[in-house]
Symmetry: C2
Subunit: 219 residues, 2 copies
């Protein structure tokens, strides 16, 4: 059975990807990363989802790195999370420098320890141009570096790169994904705020896909 380390945020994309990989018969080991994000509720969501699927789950604690990241809305309580669409430039305040490379490097280290064949993550076609490390060219270069980082070759997989979030929600519905367990909101409350960029996106993806949205939103 092919072994894969999945980067699992507790959100919709990585949860549907978990179901998708299990459907393919993979042995999945899920990794969440705690980098001091304010929306820590997502780590708890990841734990519940992995328990639901009976999949091994670990949390890599990178909080000690927070002082290196400088100020941004995801790790610094003093900066407000911007509301509205991702397209708004203000959303740039949510960028953690080099976050994707950090997450993927940790996942790859674990994959090498486990003799896994790949690291998979939920990058998709709707990822936003404001995040430089969501560009396909970035992932291609990093895939090449990971393949060369160990004698036992590990690759970087992005099975949803040709899909948008609406298509991912549809695929999740086919696979019976427990969407109510997933978490998207960046604000850090007990319920989804319904106003921040990821909440707006989450609502839209359910609306456009025609799948019932089980989320309880504050607004």
């Amino acid at each position: 059975m092919s072994r894969t380390v999945l980067i699992h945020s507790g959100g919709i994309d990585s949860t549907v990807l978990l179901a998708h990989l299990l459907h393919q018969g993979r042995e999945v080991h899920a990794l969440s990363v705690d980098y001091g994000q304010r929306h820590r509720r997502e780590i708890e969501a990841a734990r519940e989802i992995c328990a639901h699927y009976k999949v091994a789950h670990r949390v890599a604690d990178l909080r000690a790195l927070a002082p290196l990241f400088g100020s941004n809305a995801l790790t610094d309580d003093k900066i407000a999370v911007p509301e509205g669409h991702y397209e708004e430039l203000s959303m740039k305040a949510t960028v953690v420098p080099n976050r994707n490379m950090l997450l993927i490097a940790v996942a790859a280290a674990w994959a090498m320890s486990l003799k896994a064949k790949s690291v998979a993550y939920g990058a998709h076609g709707g990822d936003h141009a404001i995040y430089p490390d969501c560009r396909p060219a970035f992932a291609d270069a990093l895939d090449q570096a990971i393949r060369l980082a160990d004698w036992h070759e590990v690759s970087l997989e992005r099975p949803f790169v040709g899909m948008d979030k609406t298509a991912i929600v549809k695929r999740g519905a086919e696979l019976g994904v427990p969407f109510a367990l997933t978490w998207s909101c960046y604000v850090g409350g007990a319920k989804h705020c319904g106003r921040c960029g990821t909440c707006v996106e989450r609502k839209e993806a359910f609306l456009r896909s025609g799948v019932v949205d089980p989320t309880v939103y504050v607004a």
Copy 2:
């Protein structure tokens, strides 16, 4: 003044590189990484060397990741450090999976926060074929990924890639590097053991370069 983040282990290569970059007029910010290595004395050495050069120094604490690395001689006290030359295959036990990508990803995150132009590290021509992530092709691919990870382009520099350790010691002597402050030994004692792979290499590099070796060895 061009700003650079230097990965600084406290050893000879990165200390000579620090002197070399300062000689070029760079503004250097030095980063050491604590990944639970047994030879923690090297972090203290890095601190003293940066104080000597009056350079900013930070330690990124990755110890919380140790459980993901599996067993190896550098992070697990239960495995003995092999003696003798690196060429011996037993030295493979010192490999921390994906270590270089982790160190470089953290340094690149800091470089992006600082708006630095590059990350520099002491990779050299004598690096050993047993470490897959010392291969130039690995560094080339990772350089490409780092350049794409932020809108503000950061590059990965290896100024000593065309030199061996003997040439690096010679360059250090020209620059007046305080070699007595540097640390190489993997064993973790109060003095250099004189027997482990890095101690054997250290001795050889001084002997071959004709530079006086100020190191006190147990053996």
